[in-house]
């Protein structure tokens, strides 16, 4: 299983929210981050869905990797297999929510299929392997990264809502200004570094 790094899972949890935030320091999951962040309400909806899927897929992928792929020597297939697992997991989660947690499904319903192709989800599965996290570390890494992504998109959406009425030069309107905001937010998040050390 390789030797897991000697970092407290709790530190990994906090670090993945703040210092090594999936969006703001790794720039993963940008497509939905940019396009679904014009309204705070929808953005938090997507944030919650990402959190949910992230936790499930990291756990399933971790177990699959260590108990199936490594013993069979299929390590090199991990990109492919992780993607397939993510796609299947999302579908099953969606059906499960539709049946048993109807209210939650109403809120997340349209976002779940979108998440299958969110690179943050694949990224986190690959990171946990590269960094050879233990199971507990992986779980908290998943929860932390999900919360971090949610925090980032919620903050961005709040900012965009605030400035929705402002007049911008035509070339800057839409995605362009969103990228600039994201950059400034990323700079602000750099301020957290030094508080927790990971990697």
């Amino acid at each position: 299983m390789g030797s897991a790094p000697a970092i407290s899972p709790f530190v990994i949890f906090l670090a993945s929210i703040f210092t090594s935030n999936m969006v703001l320091s790794n720039f993963l999951g940008m497509c939905s981050f940019i396009s679904v962040s014009s309204e705070y309400k929808t953005a938090t909806g997507l944030g919650k869905a990402v959190l949910l899927v992230m936790v499930f897929t990291t756990v399933i992928n971790w177990l699959l990797y260590h108990y199936v792929m490594v013993p069979l020597g299929l390590d090199y297939l991990r990109y492919l297999l992780f993607i397939i697992v993510i796609a299947a997991t999302v579908q099953i989660i969606e059906m499960f929510l539709d049946r048993y947690l109807t209210d939650l499904h109403m809120k997340l319903g349209i976002f779940l299929p979108l998440i299958t192709v969110n690179c943050a989800i694949l990224g986190i599965s690959l990171f946990m392997i590269i960094r050879s996290y233990s199971f507990l570390q992986t779980v908290l890494f998943g929860i932390g990264s999900g919360l971090g992504w949610w925090l980032a998109i919620a903050a961005l959406a709040a900012i965009r809502e605030k400035m929705a009425g402002n007049e911008l030069p035509p070339g800057l309107a839409g995605p362009a200004i969103t990228f600039i905001i994201t950059g400034i937010m990323a700079l602000a998040f750099v301020g957290f570094s030094g508080i927790f050390m990971v990697m």
Partner: protein
């Protein structure tokens, strides 16, 4: 060896996952038999749950109007739920007003049948049937507009109000593997009960218009459902202003012919907007009507006439032409059919002239 092993293990894993998904689908998406009660017991169906209300009703031969085929983009398939089935979805929000929301209105394509349902739909929807037809004649009207004449095979007659539309089911062709259903206004008169005529413009990349233009020939069998829509003649005005562009001529033709046939005491002005002369059609037909009936006036207008068009009629945007010919909104109604852009512009101009919003009727596409 490695290759073989890779392929094999990938397939095994994919199969396991696919199995899990279908198992989940079978276990979780299985809602057993549900009862749908329409209009307080006027109809009752026992159906298999798990699909959308729209398609479930269609399988029971109750056709709710839907122009987009269940993608929540047209907002037409409204039904009233008499017992709540949960909060309205974000996909429905743009189409349902505050008032409708309180009344329990939902889009049938977004409601999944999971339990017994009690719903209310307008009685006249029961008049909607699925028709098996044969294409009797295809006429090329302009470079991108064709007229289709359908002979009804089963049922043999249709009852509709002039201005209403039907929905054609396309069949898969070439690389398009899905069958879609799209709405087209009827251009023939209601008194011809055995035939239906449609005017269809070829939309580049349009699934159903491409199907109709390039993959349907005379003699083919086509099915459609109808009639739908609330774009028909209302009481309360002596003069009617019709404005159309492109294939929007279809319902207007039906309305005008119906009114003339019934000898209704109405003055009519029909404005038809096109860009070039080659976009005009049915010109002789309407000019003939103009000569025959003193209460009908036909005003075609070109917005981009070139010298070689040798055009002596009205020019300019259709909104300007209308403003020149219509003094005010007193005792007048307006019926518009065309692109959303044209309709918006016309509604603006008409309200400026003095038309009340409730005296303007339109059919957007």
């Amino acid at each position: 060896m490695t290759v073989l092993f890779t392929v094999l293990s990938l397939s095994v894993l994919a199969t396991v996952l696919a199995g899990l998904v279908s198992l989940a689908d079978f276990r979780l998406n299985n809602y057993g038999v549900c009862t749908i009660d329409i209009n307080d017991g006027s109809r009752r169906f026992e159906v298999k749950g798990g699909s959308s209300l729209l398609s479930t009703l269609a399988s029971q031969k109750v056709f709710i109007p839907s122009a987009c085929g269940g993608k929540a983009t047209c907002g037409l398939c409204k039904v009233t739920m008499l017992e709540s089935v949960g909060p309205i979805l974000p996909t429905e929000e743009p189409y349902i007003s505050e008032k409708e929301r309180e009344a329990g209105v939902r889009l049938a394509c977004q409601v999944k049948v999971k339990q017994d349902l009690k719903i209310k739909i307008p009685e006249e929807l029961f008049n909607i049937k699925q028709y098996r037809t044969r294409v009797a004649e295809i006429v090329q009207l302009t470079h991108d507009i064709k007229q289709f004449r359908f002979e009804l095979l089963e049922p043999k007659t249709i009852d509709f109000k002039a201005g209403q539309y039907i929905q054609i089911d396309s069949k898969p062709y070439d690389k398009v593997r899905e069958a879609v259903s799209r709405a087209y206004s009827i251009s023939s008169v209601p008194s011809e009960k055995n035939i239906v005529e449609l005017i269809i413009r070829l939309v580049p990349g349009g699934i159903c218009t491409t199907f109709m233009h390039e993959h349907v020939s005379e003699g083919d069998e086509i099915t459609f459902a109808g009639p739908f829509g609330d774009f028909y003649l209302r009481d309360g005005a002596d003069e009617l202003i019709f404005i159309a562009g492109g294939s929007g001529l279809a319902p207007i033709r039906s309305l005008v012919l119906d009114i003339l046939e019934k000898n209704l005491d109405k003055k009519m002005k029909f404005f038809f907007g096109a860009v070039r002369r080659r976009d005009l059609y049915y010109v002789d037909f309407f000019q003939e009507l103009e000569r025959k009936y003193s209460n009908f006036e036909y005003i075609p207008a070109l917005s981009g006439a070139a010298p070689e068009d040798e055009w002596e009629g009205e020019t300019g945007l259709i909104t300007d032409v209308v403003a020149r010919h219509v003094p005010d909104g007193v005792n007048r109604q307006a019926y518009l059919c065309g692109s959303p852009g044209m309709i918006n512009a016309c509604v603006n101009v008409l309200t400026k002239i003095g038309f009340d919003r409730s005296a303007i009727f339109f059919d957007e596409f």
